[in-house]
């Protein structure tokens, strides 16, 4: 067993990976601001929850006007633990938007997006937009009154864009009116397109976080003579 573990370590680089990912140096943070550094990990955790619960929910969901609402009622009322699992996905979606937004605000107000972490920020903004796409497309899937009319409003807002708005609305709806094609489109985007994008973006984002290291907190230190302290510039 021990030699097998040694074999694994040398062949997979487990120790180096572990040190790079978990034993790396992070800036010292004290007080409540230290908690702000957990927002990224919290978002990642909720994303994992969404991926797992989403895959399980998809096993009993049908993206068709005839069956969408009934299949969700089936999940809620018939499938073992279905209501709880759907609740996790439902509240996880809300938590995801809140956590990702707070994470973004943290990075913005601490100036962590500055040199040399601009690329991390840009990819992060892409992830934020994808999360918005997730919540917009996911909201329609229950196909109840709230879902239908909220999506109608959302699509109509998109259609207000000058010149091309009308075409954006048509593409979102998959036609002139909201219906079966809108639902299948939103479902495909929600479970195939956006996950592919966010997984790629997350890989880049997390690599860059590790590569550049975590930025110093911009708080002034009393015993620090360095004028750069607190500007977020790598020291």
């Amino acid at each position: 067993m021990n030699s097998f573990w040694e074999w694994m370590k040398t062949r997979l680089g487990i120790e180096e990976l572990w040190n790079a990912l978990f034993a790396r140096h992070v800036p010292e943070a004290k007080g409540w601001t230290a908690w702000l550094y957990t927002l990224g990990s919290a978002s990642l955790f909720v994303f994992t929850v969404q991926a797992i619960t989403g895959a399980l929910l998809a096993m009993n969901y049908v993206p068709s006007p005839d069956h969408a609402y009934d299949s969700i009622r089936f999940i809620n009322e018939q499938v073992l633990l279905g209501r709880f699992l759907r609740g996790l996905h439902h509240w996880g979606a809300t938590a995801m938007v809140i956590l990702v937004s707070l994470h973004m605000l943290r990075v913005y107000f601490m100036g962590s997006y500055k040199y040399p972490r601009e690329a991390t920020w840009i990819v992060g903004v892409l992830i934020f937009l994808v999360v918005m796409g997730f919540s917009f497309t996911g909201y329609l899937l229950p196909w109840d009154q709230k879902a239908y009319w909220a999506t109608m409003v959302g699509v109509n807002i998109s259609a207000q864009v000058p010149v091309i708005g009308e075409y954006i609305g048509k593409v979102l709806k998959g036609g002139d009116e909201m219906g079966a094609v809108t639902l299948t489109r939103f479902y495909a985007i929600q479970v195939l397109v956006l996950p592919a994008i966010i997984l790629g973006a997350l890989a880049i984002h997390l690599f860059l976080v590790v590569w550049h290291g975590i930025s110093e907190s911009p708080t002034r230190k009393e015993d620090d003579q360095n004028k750069n302290a607190g500007t977020g510039i790598l020291q």
Binding site: S71, R73, F74, F84
Partner: protein, 166 residues
Amino acid sequence: MAYDPTENEITRRSFLSRAIVGIGGLIGAVFTGIGGGYFLSPLWHKKKESWVDLGLVKDFREGVPVKVDFTVRKRDAWSTIESRSSAWIVTANLKEFIAFDPKCTHLGCPYRWSDDKKQFLCPCHTATFGIDGKVVSGPPPRPLDRYPTKVVGGHLLILPQKTAEA
């Protein structure tokens, strides 16, 4: 690998790593339990039998087979599939009933009851069955298929799924 200045003593670092492993393990276990239960739930899902009410027992007559049409409402997860079906009902004493699948066991033609011959006649290949469903003549390989029946509260119920002859 981990810095451990004193053995057999809980340091801040070892406390935190134990807390992470402990709480993380707990969360993981809860998720595995819930997700696993959901995923594996078909294993202990009980099949629901959909018995069809064919009406009051006293409306049937002894020794006179009658064809009853009914609607089968079959639950398939979130959808209900309705289909028209029928059965030949035979009773000798208004207590015990036999329900025959209305298709000949040869090639599935619908048969009828002949009051003159006191037999079920299939027009396709002139097969005949007795009132007990046994083949009297013709090519059918086996007696008429039956549906389970039961009497509940004066109503005749059948389960429109074929079973072998009782």
